[in-house]
Symmetry: C2
Subunit: 378 residues, 2 copies
DNA sequence: CAGGGGTTCGTGAACGTTCACGTGAGCGTT
DNA sequence: AACGCTCACGTGAACGTTCACGAACCCCTG
């Protein structure tokens, strides 16, 4: 039937092949010049004005004088196609600027996985590192990752969720909203929370074992003789790090009350500087300070020095995160190092479990344990 | 058909199914009483045995006793639906863990734009900043961005292109391969190159006006009295920064040959340290050094100090990039600051032009001009 | 000349959703 | 009683691609 039309064209390599599919009919088999494929197509007067409809596989097929399937074979580099035909099809595709629709493709062939990643602040060196871990693990699984920078704005977090719940197969990220709000914006997509303990959420999560880390850090400070230790927190509420700090300080029998903790307005060096100003004003007697993260700790060092206190002699500073930046400042920052890439990899692992219908990792398996790295600042 | 079942169910509230919206008068919403207890804390814990086909809109429609369209209305929060029915449909959707296929959806309603972003190394603070600019501009346009970390591996760059050419509507990123190789892996998707001059590629690009920047920097060094200036380059070939350096040095009438330029094995502090070792060995007489980027410049400072040369007195160091990290090291780094976010935003602007069929920006409009930030190191 | 096997190509039929209609019930107006 | 309107909902028909088939042709072999 219409297969014969294709045949005859193939056997007739004379000119006019790139122009009109319905040949002049030089044979008995001009049975149907109307292709069932493209009935509604109007050859010729395509777009009166610049209505640039994107070319489809049909258009390419018509221009090349073959069927959709042959076009598919050509562009996907499959077998079962004559090299000459393939070249002709490819040429037609180039001419029409054809690009297969990823939607139509994804609809029929499953397997393309897209994960969403929501990061609070790309300018904080901590998060790119986590993202690198996510990206790396995702790449290994053949997934792709669409990234959102929520810029520490909860509204933007929700907005990211709204989009991602439509466009991603799973989401991992940092979110401040409580479970029920997240659920509402999630529309059923699996979610893996970053840095939330199991008791803080019913979603799957990966976290940091702040307690163990802080214990190491405060032991170190204590052994160095410090008895009056303050903290520069990064959040207002009592998060895991502050709770661990308070617990360890009490365990060591050291004095502590609210005054010993100052909250920094933001997770940055400038935030640390500002927080340290307030902490020194409230508790000038401190000999050591524990920072919520390395950025804040570096800020603390700078303020301390500005106040004429040398680090670590007059004031010891302990960070949290283990940014490579800590090696470059002076004095080099003693810190609780976190394997940030591992955190990201773990998150992807959690996503994989969720997708497989398995139970997500809970407890220690979903934790990253900080490691004390002693440098010069404490 | 099941459609009629739906009808009859609607007309017959006493049906055995749990679907029982109140009769004509939609009184107080007494919704399902049978399966309201869906405490499924674990996502994906539904189907014990196999057959894990994802639920479609049909399944939901059948379970709720309505048509596809009504399900669509419910999940998309459209009008023209009875609140009670909507609740019933939503409940059924929840029960089946239904999530609309983004492919089917994208196929029918156009407009979802996905861009690919390929970054060489997320651990270099420069690139997250560029990425933030891309993400920000993309978000404003309602696009999403899938990010790849090529980890400075050209094979991975190509691999990223292979995937992205299938899954993205446009690609922006850093690529080392020449135009023809890129074209081969691109399959027709628009590409915007980061940090390539117009004469270096026929693709659309956004770049850095290295010449103007270096001119400012070397003028500054010259005015400070430096006459023997070396460079720590980051690439082997003569890139824009090295060419600009050589030109400016010659313009100032200073001595220079290959020995005055050392290539760092990698774009990192460690790379800068290593490169500086070699540069000091080859040209111990230098009084100033220009770094390919801030990381390398910081490495140079460290090596210089290790060799007993104080910065800036014995040796001045000039960076390139303007990382915030430069403010934290000691002495603070004098550098040619680049608006990295702007670079990213410009790239998205280029993508938009390409998509609109417009001519991409060329020349100065697609450039970011560095600005000399004088701190302590030079 | 019948038959077999290998190429090369075409034809419905999905895939899961939304869009543009169409329909019937209910209610009020004339 | 006829008409019109609104509400709630259902019905093909796309959207663009790949998959599972099968058909026509070619080159052999017996």
């Amino acid at each position: 039937m219409s297969a014969r039309v294709g045949r005859s064209q193939r056997k007739d390599p004379s000119g006019a092949r790139a122009a009109a599919p319905a040949g002049p009919g030089p044979g008995p088999d001009k049975v149907l010049s109307v292709w069932t494929d493209n009935q509604r197509a109007e050859p010729g007067a395509e777009g009166p004005d610049g209505a640039r409809r994107r070319a489809t596989i049909h258009d390419v097929a018509r221009l090349a004088g073959v069927s959709r399937q042959t076009v598919s074979r050509a562009v996907n580099d499959k077998g079962e196609i004559d090299p000459a035909t393939k070249e002709r099809v490819l040429e037609a595709a180039r001419l029409l600027d054809y690009r297969p629709s990823r939607f139509a493709r994804g609809l029929v062939q499953k397997g393309a996985v897209t994960a969403g990643l929501v990061i609070p602040d790309l300018r904080n060196p901590f998060f790119p590192e986590v993202a690198a871990g996510v990206l790396e693990a995702a790449e290994q699984r053949g997934w792709q990752v669409v990234v959102w920078d929520s810029r520490i704005d909860e509204a933007r977090e929700r907005q990211a969720l709204d989009v991602l719940s439509h466009q991603a197969d799973a989401v991992v990220g940092y979110f401040k909203d409580p479970d029920d709000v997240l659920t509402r914006h999630l529309g059923g997509v699996p979610l893996v929370l970053l840095e939330r303990g199991p008791q803080q959420t019913r979603f799957a999560a990966v976290g940091i074992d702040a307690a163990t880390g802080v214990e190491q850090g405060l032991n170190h400070l204590f052994r160095a003789g410090h008895r009056r230790i303050g903290m520069l927190d990064g959040v207002h509420g009592p998060g895991p790090r502050r709770l661990a700090f308070l617990e360890q300080v009490r365990r060591l029998g050291l004095p502590v009350d609210e005054d010993w903790v100052a909250v920094c307005p933001e997770h940055s060096v400038a935030g640390g500087e500002a927080g340290m100003e307030r902490l020194l004003a409230a508790r000038p007697e401190i000999t050591a300070v524990f920072g919520f993260n390395d950025l804040i700790a570096v800020g603390a060092m700078r303020t301390a020095r500005r106040h004429g206190r040398s680090v670590p002699d007059d004031l010891a500073v302990l960070g949290f995160d283990g940014l490579s930046l800590g090696e470059l400042v002076e004095p080099a920052l003693t810190t609780l190092h976190i394997d940030k890439r591992q955190l990201g990899r773990l998150a992807v692992e959690q996503v994989a479990r969720l997708r497989a219908g398995e139970e997500p990792l809970r407890g220690a398996d979903a934790w990253v344990v900080p490691e004390l790295v002693v440098r010069s600042s404490a």
